[in-house]
Amino acid sequence: MTNIETAAPQLADLIKGYSADYIEARLEESQRSYITYRGKELESIGQATATGGNIRALVRGGWGFASFNEVGDLPAKVELAVKQATLVGREESKLAPVEPIVDTVPAAHNPTIKPLAEKKQLLDEYNELIWRTPKLQTSVIAYGDSHKKVIFLSSAGSHIVQERSDISLRLSAVAAGDGEVQQASLSVGSAGDFKAISGLHQQVERTAKHALELLSAPQVKGGEYTVVLDPVLAGVFTHEAFGHLSESDFVYENERLRQIMVLGKKFGGEKLNIIDSAAVPQLRGSYKYDDEGVPAVKTYLIREGKLVGRLHSRETAARMGEKPTGNARAINYRYPPIVRMTNTYIEPGEASFEDIIADIKEGVYAKNWFGGTTAMEMFTFSAGEAYMIRNGRVAEALRPVVLSGNVFTTLNNIDAIGNDLEMNQGGGCGKGEQMPLPVSNGSPHIRIRKCLVGGR
């Protein structure tokens, strides 16, 4: 068994001795446990441990990356990364300068050391509640927790030991009748605090009941509607609709996109402010340093409707002549860090929920998260719950809806922002092959005019 703590000093010396423009290494030890239920029965329960690391080298603008589980023969691994980088490099290396940092950041919680019996006890309670609902066909519960220790070393002298914990829980209830199948879900999570997912009995019960209600709910007629999003779904919307476009690895080498995403460009109304911040403590996307050893900061992406910032790695920041924001993240040691969101949210405004729906004659109130995806300009996101709004009141329940928008018009169509910001800790973000990455997103209630809703 190799201990990453004992390998670190040797590796730190090693990467200083090579002729590359920059070399960094990450060594990682992690534990994870998971419990899943399908229907009334537990489906699987397991524990996993992993040890691994990687070396990333930069030579004349080209990157080499070697990852491994076997933490031995480190010189050969550094050599491989440098050799690969040399094969790629054909220009000048550019990295935004950061001060070398030596620090140790412990995690506030370690959910993996909690006895499995206690975790199972809570899930048993939730599953029992779900199954009190009549006509349920099945249910799915997926619980996972993790704790990892990452040692980051750079040829510039950084030596950061950082621990992170994560918990995610998703519960789905599936109801069936007359050849119809409908489901309702609840997703929650935390940065390792088990209490955050305890005591949700009422919400779990409501989720199960909603699956049943959906069986008799009609499907919305497809078309354009005034749509009100609850904080959970508005958070997903923020992430999909704008968050991804602000990841500057999409932008930095794309001249056309740089022209479109020029700072100062108007995307929304004056009341719209969008922020990404890993520096907010104790959320799923929170950390002190990113996976390039850059300190986390609070970044305004949109301020008063205008584009004012974007998310950077050291390389994208240098190539765009902007400041690094500490957004380079990797899901684990097998991957190089790429530009990612952390905790992304719309700042609260002044409107109450009643104000927001008061003057809507016919609209859709979409709640709760089901999924979302983006292709930069166009995006879709789907609601777990939906209701018609008629004459200023929430009316009949609808089948879950998929909403779609275009970043250049939809943000501009937000015409009311609520005063009730909530952060959603469920779910995770995927980009490339790296998923799910712990993130959170949030918003108050928002109203969007002319939003495209798919339907019958």
């Binding site: 068994m1 998971y34 419990i35 029965e41 537990l42 489906e43 699987s44 397991g46 524990q47 996993a48 441990t49 992993a50 040890t51 080209g62 990157w63 080499g64 990356f65 070697a66 990852s67 589980n69 990364a81 690969q84 094969l87 790629v88 499995l116 199972k120 099945t138 599936v174 069936a176 050849g179 199948v181 409908q182 489901q183 497809g222 078309g223 354009e224 080498e253 794309n254 056309r256 996109l257 479109i260 097998r334 190089p336 999924g371 995806t373 166009m378 995006f379 879709t380 996101f381 789907s382 089948r399 879950p400 998929v402 779609s404 275009n406 250049f408 495209l452 798919g454 339907g455 019958r456």
Partner: protein, 432 residues
Amino acid sequence: MEDILAQAKKVAEEAEVFMVSSEETPVQFEANRLKRIQGKQNTGVALRIIKEGRIGYASTTDPTDTTRLVANATETAQFGVKARFELPQKARYPKIDIFDPDTESIRVEKMIELGEELIALVTRHTPDIICEAMVAKDIITLRLLNSGGGEASYKKSIFSLSMWGSLIRGTDMLFVGESQSSCHPLTKPREIADVVIKQLELAKNRASVPSGKLPVILTPRGVASAIIPSLMVAFNGKIVLEGASPIGNKLGKNVFDPRLSLWDDPTIAYRPNSRPCDDEGVPSQRTPLIEEGKVANFLYDLQTAALAHTRSTGNGNRNGGLPTPSPTTLVIAPGKTSLDEMLSDIKEGLIIEQLMGAEQGNILGGDFSGNVLLGYKVERGKIVGRVKDTMVSGNIYQVLKEVAAIGSKPEWVGGFVHTPPIYCPSLSVASK
């Protein structure tokens, strides 16, 4: 591995050790040029035990960490599900070719050349396109041992060639792309480039369609993005067992159009998902799922099959956890209608290459609803231009009950799905 098995047998009635290691080399291009080369060495060992009749499970990346692995599995076994199956004994496996030494020996310099050629072909056609590309090889070694004397091992090579391009004009963005994989080296970038160039050609003009019901052709890629996610769920033995599959009680019944046949096939030579046995050591077989419109079979692993009083179809897959039923390579049988014949039947409609977000709806119920990421308007039998800001919705049980036609020319989508185009007489379209 033998040591882990021996240690596990001391604490449990039955045990199974599964080990997979891989050497992966992805060569990545960004903004039309070489950006990053990676070398990834991965090792994983999983231990499944049956102790007092219950399943325990643990995994590690360190094969020498036997004590902790066995202890972790033992702890989980207290709460594990009751094992209903027996681990397979020594079996004869079909011989399936999944390793090509040319893939293992291809040099990284050659992979760089392939990527550069691919990008050059596409940028020659459209100079202002920004391409990302990946050329990757992966050599996988797998070995399985169990206390019942079962033993399996194989070596597989996978090569993949992919590219995505974005073309931005004003605030209009177009995304094109194609990806293929095989156990052989893919050394003809032209084939990928031609697909992308065709997409660029068809998307040159813009068009719009009215909201309402329209005839829609799903191309092979369109079928993969709109139809396949729901089918994968519906034929999963586990979903069937718990009664959540809409076709779970329709075995042998006509549910789909009689022209439709679908099967799962891990025995096709040199396909990335092919293999002599599944991740539990059950021999691979071709499993018909839809035979001329009738529901023929569902996909099973050992435990699910035992609970359903049937046999495993060799679809036990591990994805970092316990085996669970999942498809390998899905094949839809071709029909008789050419794409031109389908097109000429349409006065006003759509042909869809990719539906974004289709898998986010109620796929359990067969619903799909997505934004047309890449699709074109068809007018009087001709493709006239790309549509945007358009949503298409349907339900696969309605759509596949009576299709207008099934295409005669199947294609590989990403290396895992082999399907012809499918022509749907009427889907719901919402547009701006």
